[in-house]
Amino acid sequence: MAKRIDEALVRKVAKLSRLDLTKAEVEEFTEQLSAILEYVEKMNELDTTGVEPLAHCLPISNVFREDSVKGSLGTEKTLANAPQRDGEYFKVPKIMDSE
């Protein structure tokens, strides 16, 4: 059985997922994800022509409420779990190149 995905595709998906995988993980996931996808494709045995996709199993519609002012967590509580902070800010590495 042909593999559903190869290592190049696994690396591409890892990049989309923002996961820095090791070489060993790429190899392992190529095997395992191929096997899982092969199993998942069992769904193709079913003819789903004309069947509506079901995202939510109950009749859920938009929920509206009054747009009233309420309290919020506040700066200290919000920043309490920050890996790095600078005063009232979350600190992260520079995003723009220095050029």
Binding site: I5, L9, V10, V13, A14, K15, L16, S17, R18, L19, D20, L21, E25, F29, Q32, L33, A35, I36, L37, Y39, V40, E41, K42, M43, N44, E45, L46, T48, V51, E52, P53, L54, A55, H56, C57, L58, I60, V63, R65, L73, K77, T78, A80, N81, A82, P83, Q84, F90, V92, P93, K94, I95
Partner: protein, 492 residues
């Protein structure tokens, strides 16, 4: 005295504490004594709160002695799965990425437990981010099955089920996305209910598969399950998918619990019973006989699309997970890598270091299923299959009031047995997953033991918002049998 306390159900304990016959502090102390003795062997908890619990218990005793009214769970020691946010202790989801995360708010269910005067004992181990069927995917610790410590407790709410079975609490909350309450309840010989989607607020439950996740009780008896449902059910403005009272009113699940359903119409899917191990089959067939004896009418039905439930689930749940877990980016909270070279590495290295293998695997699978060029073939197809699966249930429920089937094809398997083969692990969810896809309630109740003295669970499924009837049906069986009274002898 102490041991007698541990024999009590939540309701009995609550009544005794409220009447001043038993001290809440004594109940909490007896639980912490057991934790001291057995936790090293079972490994159910990620964190425990002895000091806080005893303080709360003391406050409840004071309220009782001063004649103040106390809540529905007055003094009952309860455990909470570690994916529900608490302002006390950490909320880790058994993940290294959240190991030091301290939630600024309580989940709605936690607020409800506290308001009902429950005493929160600790937070239980689980598969990382609730992804798994054995609790072996925990990034923080190992949990053993109290009935045989060389075996898994099931998962992902394995810590909660093991804690209840081992008497390390009186009841617990779990969460169920594809069987994560019912399967560990079955493996540990306790009662576990996954309510209808939207019955219990998910506010403060760390999201895995948002259209499937639901919080529910894990208890020793159906009576205790009903009591906990009375506390945690209901509409919550903070969860827009929770169902309002007009659509489906919450009722008192204890009120008619002991009234059997006359002429109950039960559906059974023969291939599902036959698909399980011989000893599981026998236990399920015997349970069906019990219902027959009670006057229920059994109808054999076909549910042709249920065979595709695992395939659809592992696309839908992983797609939702890949989106939900994008928030762990090392920026606002959670683990951040030591020396990132640039902002991209803040994300990719923090996530690579913080997530365990199964979480990475599911994020990868979900990202792939949602990615350009594959969306229609996998995600959209899975949503259509989901509709067909819901249709199978609707059709059965036109003529029958409940469906009986096994919870899992086997009893608890050995630690390490399936950990290297993710697909084999996924297949162990075969009987539980469809219920989440259809959004309906399902319960696991003890229905026997195999030749290794491992518990077997019976699953009962009803239409959406049928919890009142579901619990009564489960209670009919519980009253006729004594499986739920057996307790494990915990051997190191």
């Amino acid at each position: 005295m102490r041991n007698e306390l541990l024999e009590m159900g939540c309701k009995e304990l609550r009544d005794s504490i409220s009447a001043g016959q038993v001290k809440s502090v004594a109940a909490a102390e007896s639980v912490f004594e057991r934790i001291e003795k057995y936790e090293a062997t079972v490994g159910a908890y990620i964190s425990t709160f002895e000091e806080q619990a005893l303080r709360k218990a003391g406050e409840i005793d004071k309220k009782v002695s001063s004649g103040e009214a106390v809540g529905k769970l007055a003094g009952v020691p309860i455990a909470v799965k570690d994916n529900m946010c608490t302002t006390f202790g950490a909320t880790t989801c058994a993940s290294k990425i959240l190991e030091d995360f301290h939630s600024p708010y309580n989940a709605t269910v936690v607020e409800k437990l506290l308001a009902a005067d429950a005493v929160i004992v600790g937070k239980t181990n689980m598969d990382e981010f609730a992804m798994g069927s054995s609790t072996e995917n925990s990034g923080l610790k190992k949990t053993s099955n109290p009935w045989d410590t060389s075996r898994v407790p099931g998962g992902s709410s394995g810590g909660s089920a093991a804690a209840v079975a081992a008497g390390l609490c009186f009841a617990a909350l779990g969460s169920d996305t594809g069987g994560s309450i019912r399967q560990p309840a079955s493996f540990c010989g306790v009662v576990g209910l996954k309510p209808t989607y939207g019955r219990v607020s998910r506010y403060g439950l760390v999201a895995y598969g948002s259209s499937l996740d639901q919080i529910g009780p894990i208890t020793r008896t159906v009576v205790d399950c009903a009591l906990l449902m009375n506390v945690i059910s209901g509409h919550d403005l903070n969860d827009s998918t929770s169902i309002d009272e007009r659509t489906a009113p919450v009722c008192d699940y204890l009120e008619k619990l002991d009234e059997p359903i006359e002429g109950l119409k039960i559906a059974v899917v023969p291939e599902f019973v036959c698909g399980a191990d011989k000893e599981v089959q026998k236990a399920i067939s015997d349970a069906i006989e019990v219902y027959k004896r009670l006057g229920s009418e059994i109808t054999e039905v076909q549910m042709p699309h249920l065979d595709y439930a695992i395939a659809a689930y592992y696309v839908i749940a992983t797609a939702e997970a890949s989106s939900n877990l994008a928030r762990y980016d090392g920026v606002h909270y959670g683990h951040r890598t030591e020396n990132p070279q640039d902002y991209f590495e803040v994300y990719s290295k923090s996530r690579a270091e913080g997530f365990g293998k199964e979480v990475k695997r599911r994020i990868m699978l979900g990202t792939y299923a949602l990615s350009s060029g594959y969306y229609d073939a996998y995600y959209l197809k899975a949503l259509k299959v989901r509709n067909l699966i819901r249709g199978d249930f609707s059709k059965v429920f036109e003529k029958c009031e409940a469906i009986l089937m096994p919870v899992a094809p086997t009893t608890a398997f050995k630690l390490g047995e399936k950990i290297d083969d993710p697909l084999q692990m996924y297949l162990s969810d075969i009987y539980t997953i469809a219920v989440n896809l259809a959004g309906i309630p399902g319960i696991s109740i003890p229905c026997g033991f195999d030749s290794n003295n491992l518990p077997i669970g019976l699953q009962i499924i009803t239409p959406a918002f049928g919890e009142e009837k579901l619990l009564r049906i489960a209670r009919m069986y519980e009253k006729e049998t004594s499986w739920h009274k057996k307790k494990p002898e915990i051997k190191k």
